[in-house]
């Protein structure tokens, strides 16, 4: 008996312990979160394959990443993400062990250790004016004992020691107003030359002593027709450029300071030449590449400066730089597209023409677009011949390594540049599917539970522990392609900068489908297309359930607001493009309306640059719905440059040349003019359109009711003094102030205007329910601060009386109109906060019951979850007993940063740009997706999972406990019966 009780107690304790997990345990990492690392679109690649045991390629990308990739598998060895302002210009390898990066327009030179990516040294190279940054790393030039490299940037040429980054000498070359285009060093010589244009009509060349920097010669020569575009170096003493009218090529020879020009008309070289030829940057000695709008031509420069066409290739061809083969020959790679496949050619270039060394066709899936860049590398095959491997960058920013006619590995690096994210539901599970699966796995299930039980009772062997871990990762069907009861499984539809749409599964982050959108690809009519945003187009919930959900992708051709827009609608399950519209009106703003038609397509209002509103979908039904609601549609626009906030409404159909029923004129209803000398709009925030508020009332500890002012039309706006727009420290506290507004966007009413003296931006804000939390810098306190404003409705404050509610004399059910004067009261409080932020978000749950957490994307690229309770304006230094029971924390000066509340635990979301929260179906849980160069997804339960058992809850243990209890009841019952009988017999 004694024993049995002890066992119960033990079991009970074990059970209750498994509940109290608040933050993540080490072995729970990866159970419900995933993390993916990317590098972005590759700009430069340098192979490092000599003698090193691990073959690698060093790349720099447009996301400002410098990284070393494994050539066998494409994994990242190491990676550094530089600041967005510190753009990488050039990379190279020096001394065979350092990766050299030149960044910030030639101002910062860094060396990274090749094997592990540690930074070895860093040099800043300041200069008076910006110029084209150039990096030249000669293989064996020594000054004294030190290997040197040459850097041209900001008007100066520097000779820099490879070992420690010391500047050995420097010389200003900008004095003549020359625009240096190339640095040339011929192996073995002791001079270095810099060539460039002086103005547009003069070519100049400097010859410097490589070891001392002494200027040996400066020659320049006028060319009557002038130059346009960049200079392209062909050999050590020959360069080509295009003349200013763009009709002929100029070959410039500058051997030993003697300059001569040779002009060749383009129409002589290329048949049916039209305008607009460009010399593509390339580095193949003796050959240069001329791109016109319908072809790519390889042209060889002969000894006297004459030109000869080597080969004319199709439009979408990418050519690599030259590769020097051991025998003194040189080769280069060409990638062309041929009927859905790509054709890789490696050509051997010799004096008497070119010959093909290798020709391979590789099949790539058709969602990759055109080849953008090619990098070639050689290796020695088993039979001692030269083999080639090629790294290609595709239009969708993905990276491939090709070798022996096969794809060795690929990387989806387009995902490093996400523009917008929208969640989509998965299909509903068909009947019967799940049951069959469970039956099949019944034995497995039992075995699993037994293992888990062992784990809980701490009698599992290390092998068992790994088995449990593996099972946990695979279990719960989290990567199934159907909807689950808790709503954890969803698709994340993601639009990347390259115009590719991906669907990521929230279970494991895999790509379900991807599509390179035709409308967002470069074409004749659309020169620089850009995706702007994604919107939920159709999300069937109640009817039209046979329809798949779909998303609307909005983009525009060009950077200015008045360039033509493009729209496409893509099926969220399959990724097929259902409909697309090219070259529509300009798109300045997209308003998803709260109405849906009978097909559950959401009505959208697209505003163009002329302040006209266009209704989508363009159906009679949608128009009918819209006409009915015409008077209740309002929106605002913030003109940041002008400092004016305006409110608009729809008026009537546009007066256009051709009648358009779906186009409406807007009218200005209100305006707020911020004084231009003292205020500049720094940030705005509105509530999420799909946010659900569970209760309008808040009951305080002293049985008082406060009514939240919950309005979808509230705008939070922050302005800073125009002087204080610059970085922190550029103004004194007296000159700067931060002014915060709460504005009703229907009537333009300013509900609140408060000033924070001595504070500056950057301002990050998040608006949820009836509160705003914003983050800024306090110059007086030299610290970041976070403030909270809560808004309460005073008009309803009298409805506290139960009698009133019973008798129906309250005004809670009366309709609310924005034209009534709201009586609001606000409470606010400020707290110091240790971190600076990159972005901010708030958790969203299905019913809005669960308490909120503010998600802060810190400067360290992590996501920190901060309980809203810490940002409660009602916190006081000494809360009363009643207030404490309500959960009010005593007031502190600053907000605590609890290490366990990092959502990203030990990981970093490099280059963090945004956080998206999606409510799960389970009320306690919210899904969080953070994106930047990396992606991170996890589930959060701000008030813990009060409505479900945790995933690792041991049902077996529960069953065994119940079983044991039942057995014990029987045993004791029989026991006592027996005893009683015995006593009766006595």
């Amino acid at each position: 008996m004694n024993m049995a009780i002890r066992v119960y107690l033990l079991l009970f304790l074990a059970l209750s312990y498994s509940y109290t997990a608040f933050s993540l345990y080490e072995d729970q990492v990866g159970l419900m979160d995933w993390h993916q690392q990317y590098i972005g679109k590759v700009k430069h690649a340098v192979f490092h394959t000599q003698k090193a045991a691990r073959k690698r390629v060093v790349v720099s990308t447009e996301e400002n990443v410098v990284s070393s990739l494994d050539l066998r598998h494409g994994e990242i060895f190491w990676r550094h993400v530089l600041a967005p302002s510190d753009v990488i210009d050039q990379i190279d390898i020096a001394l065979g062990k350092y990766v050299i990066t030149l960044s910030s327009g030639g101002s910062i030179l860094r060396a990274w250790n090749l094997p592990d990516g540690q930074m070895v040294w860093e040099s800043t190279l300041p200069g008076p004016k910006a110029s084209k940054p150039l990096l030249l790393v000669p293989t064996n030039l020594k000054i004294g004992r030190e290997n040197v490299m040459f850097v041209y940037g900001n008007g100066f040429i520097h000779a820099i020691s490879s070992i420690d980054g010391e500047v050995i000498w420097k010389k200003e070359l900008a004095s003549e107003g020359i625009n240096i285009q190339q640095l040339i060093y011929t192996d073995g010589s002791d001079t270095i030359s810099a060539v460039g244009f002086v103005g547009t009509h003069r070519f100049g060349t400097y010859i410097l002593h490589a070891k001392s920097g002494e200027l040996l010669k400066y020659k320049s020569m006028e060319f009557a027709s002038g130059f346009s575009g960049d200079l392209s170096l062909v050999t050590d003493d020959t360069a080509v450029a295009i003349d200013s009218v763009g009709t002929s090529l100029v070959t410039i020879q500058f051997h030993d300071g003697l300059i001569s020009f040779h002009q060749t008309r383009l129409s002589h070289l290329i048949q049916n030449f039209r305008r607009a030829a460009v010399i593509s940057p390339s580095n193949i000695p003796g050959v240069f590449i001329l791109g016109t709008d319908n072809s790519v031509t390889l042209i060889k420069v002969l000894s006297r400066g004459e030109l000869k066409v080597v080969e004319e290739l199709g439009h979408a061809t990418a050519v690599s730089d030259a590769l020097f083969l051991p025998g003194g020959q040189q080769a280069f790679a060409l990638v062309q597209h041929r009927d859905g496949k790509i054709l890789l050619t490696v050509k051997l270039d010799s004096d008497d023409g070119t010959s093909n060394l290798l020709e391979e066709t590789i099949h790539l899936d058709n969602q990759r677009g055109k080849v953008q860049k090619v990098f070639v590398n050689t290796y020695v095959r088993v039979d001692r011949s030269n083999g080639f491997r090629v790294l290609i960058v595709m239009e969708d920013d993905s990276l491939f390594l090709l070798q022996q006619g096969e794809i060795v590995w690929s990387r989806e690096d387009g995902l490093a540049s996400i523009v917008d994210v929208k969640p989509a539901e998965l299909p509903v599970e068909k009947d019967g599917v799940s049951v069959a699966k469970v039956e099949n796995n019944l034995f497995e299930l039992l075995k699993g539970h037994l293992l888990k039980l062992k784990g809980t009772l701490m009698i599992a062997t290390p092998d068992d522990v790994t088995a449990i871990q593996k099972m946990r990762l695979q279990s719960s069907g989290k990567s199934k392609m159907t909807r689950d009861r808790n709503g954890f499984r969803k698709l994340l539809i993601v639009l990347t900068r390259a115009g590719k749409l991906f669907a990521l599964h929230t279970g494991d982050g895999r790509i379900v489908w991807s599509r390179l959108l035709k409308t967002l690809r470069k074409s004749e009519t659309c020169q620089s297309p850009r995706g702007i945003s994604l919107h939920q187009w159709q999300d069937p919930h109640h009817h039209a359930l046979d329809q798949n959900p779909s998303v609307l992708i909005v983009g525009r051709c060009g950077d200015s607001l008045d360039s033509a827009g493009v729209l496409s609608i893509v099926d969220a399950y399959t990724g097929e493009e259902r409909n697309h519209m090219e070259h529509v009106h300009s798109i300045a703003h997209i308003i998803p309306l709260s109405f849906t038609d009978s097909m559950e397509q959401r009505l959208h209002l697209l505003l163009d640059a002329n302040r006209r509103a266009h209704l989508y979908p363009r159906t009679a039904e949608a128009l009918d719905i819209f006409q009915r609601e015409l008077g209740n549609i309002y929106w605002y626009s913030a003109e940041t440059d002008e400092g004016i906030l305006r409110g608009h409404s729809v008026q009537k159909n546009c007066v256009l040349e051709e009648a358009d029923n779906f186009c409406f004129d807007s009218r200005d209803l209100w305006s707020i003019v911020f004084p231009s000398e003292s205020e500049k709009i720094a940030a705005t925030a509105i509530r999420s359109l799909n946010e659900v508020v569970h209760t309008q009332a808040k009951v305080t500890a002293d049985q008082e009711v406060m009514y939240k002012y919950v309005s979808k039309n509230l705008l939070f706006l922050a302005t800073v003094a125009p002087k204080a727009v610059g970085p922190i420290g550029s103004v004194t506290p007296d000159e700067s102030s931060l002014i915060v507004y709460l504005i009703d966007t229907v009537t333009g009413r300013i509900l609140l205007r408060v000033t924070h003296h001595g504070s500056v931006g950057p301002v990050h804000a998040v608006f949820s329910e009836n509160w705003v939390v914003y983050h800024y810098f306090n110059l007086r306190a030299h610290r970041y601060e976070m403030s909270v404003i809560e808004i309460y409705d005073q008009a309803r404050a009298e409805n506290k009386d139960v009698l009133k509610l019973v008798l129906g004399t309250h005004n809670l059910t009366s309709p609310i109109t924005a034209y009534s004067r709201p009586e609001v009261s606000t409470k606010s409080q400020s707290y110091f906060f240790a971190h600076s932020l990159k972005t901010m978000a708030v958790t969203l749950t299905a019913k809005g019951i669960t308490s909120k957490q503010v998600l802060l994307g810190t400067i360290g690229d992590q996501v920190l979850a901060l309980d809203k309770r810490f940002l409660d304006p009602r916190r006081t230094v000494n809360p009363t007993q009643a207030e404490k029971e309500e959960g009010i924390i005593p007031l502190t000066d600053s907000l605590p940063i609890i290490p366990q509340s990092y959502v990203t635990h030990a990981l970093k979301v490099e280059g963090l740009r945004g956080i998206v929260t999606v409510p799960a179906k389970l009320e306690s849980t919210t899904l969080v997706f953070a994106y930047g160069t990396d992606l991170f997804f996890t589930r959060l339960a701000p008030s813990r999972t009060y409505d479900s058992l945790t995933e690792d809850f041991s049902y077996a243990l529960l069953l065994i406990t119940i079983g044991a209890l039942v057995v014990a009841i029987f045993v004791t019952w029989i026991w006592s019966e027996k005893k009683e009988l015995q006593e009766k017999w006595r």
């Binding site: 008996m1 004694n2 008077g631 002008e642 004016i644 409404s649 008026q651 009218r667 200005d668 209803l669 209100w670 305006s671 707020i672 003019v673 911020f674 004084p675 231009s676 003292s678 205020e679 002014i739 915060v740 504005i743 009537t747 333009g748 009413r749 300013i750 205007r753 408060v754 000033t755 924070h756 003296h757 403030s787 008009a795 309709p815 609310i816 109109t817 034209y819 009534s820 004067r821 606010s828 409080q829 400020s830 006081t876 230094v877 000494n878 005593p890 007031l891 502190t892 000066d893 005893k979 009683e980 006593e983 006595r986």
Partner: protein, 301 residues
């Protein structure tokens, strides 16, 4: 007639006198209004506007200006313009206020008064049309009062039906100011505007105007003393809980204990009786305890 002329002359003299005394930065502004009754927040056809909520010490500043004998105030006037639906803006009334310059260089408006022009026949017609069509009645003010109209006008609109909920027209202006800049004006009915809005043209074509000037507030930070103080408080709070009564805390242990004690007592009372009855001492009590006490005892083992 004569008295008014005298009054006028007097007032002009008074004004001149003040202007001379003030030696302020001059405004090219003429007013035909009396300054003598300027001490109160007078407003024609409406109730007194709420005094602007200011954090600055109004009284002391006033006293100071009185002592120095030079008042840095000046009068300022700006126009309200209105539009019916899509029509152009036309003058609708005049705001008059005093511009107070504070010693620190800040300027605020005080003593705002508003006089509305009478509505013309076409205006009335237009207004009726707005009410029928449930359209917007728009007003605008200059965005800068010293340099009118400033960069742009500030506009506000309201559904005309909201203004005409009673016999006359009721309107309410909340002018948000920053120094001499008008940031925005909130215009509408003084109270609520019932929904659905009913079409009811006014019977009396006059406006009951209410005006309110609003300046921004400063954020006041609740000062928190050092963390150390708080830490002490925290400790103190931790010590407080034992104040709950002994019974409140341990009732769940006390009740079973009491039961056990009672049980034991009854047993103890029974024992002597049974012993007295001459039963063999070893068996009787056990039989009883087998029913009553044994489970409790067992639990405690």
């Amino acid at each position: 007639m004569a008295t008014t002329t005298i009054a006028k002359i007097l007032s002009w003299f008074f004004l001149l006198n003040i202007v001379l005394q003030l030696a302020t930065t001059s405004f090219a502004f003429q007013s035909d209004e009396l300054l003598v009754d300027d001490d109160e927040f007078g407003l024609e056809g409406g109730r007194l506007p709420d005094p602007p909520p200011e954090t600055r010490p109004v009284t002391s500043a006033r006293r100071r200006s009185a002592e120095s004998g030079s008042d840095l105030d000046s009068k300022i006037q700006f126009q309200l313009e209105h539009a019916f639906g899509d029509s152009d803006f036309s003058p609708a009334g005049t705001f008059t206020a005093r511009l107070k310059t504070w010693p620190n260089g800040g300027q605020t408006l005080t003593k705002l008064r508003f006089s509305r022009n009478a509505l013309s026949q076409t205006d009335k017609e237009n207004f009726k049309r707005l009410i029928e069509g449930d359209d917007f009645y728009q007003i605008r003010l200059p965005s800068n009062l010293l340099n009118q109209p400033g960069r742009e006008h500030v506009i506000s609109s309201v559904k005309a039906r909201c203004l005409s909920q009673r016999d006359a027209l009721d309107e309410h202006f909340v002018i948000n100011m920053d120094g001499v800049n008008v940031l925005g004006v909130n215009y509408g009915a003084p109270g609520s505007c019932q929904y659905p809005r009913v079409s009811r043209p006014p019977t009396k074509w006059s406006f009951n105007s209410h005006t309110l000037l609003k300046y921004s507030n400063e954020v006041l930070r609740t000062p928190v003393f050092t963390e150390a103080v708080l830490g002490e408080n925290g400790e103190g709070e931790e010590l407080k809980p034992p104040e709950r009564s002994f019974w409140a805390k341990y009732w769940m242990y006390l009740i079973p204990l009491g039961l056990i004690v009672m049980n034991a007592m009854t047993q103890a009372m029974n024992m002597p009786e049974e012993q007295g009855a001459g039963q063999p001492g070893s068996q009787g009590p056990q039989a009883i305890s087998g029913r009553g006490q044994a489970p409790a005892v067992r639990r405690r083992n």
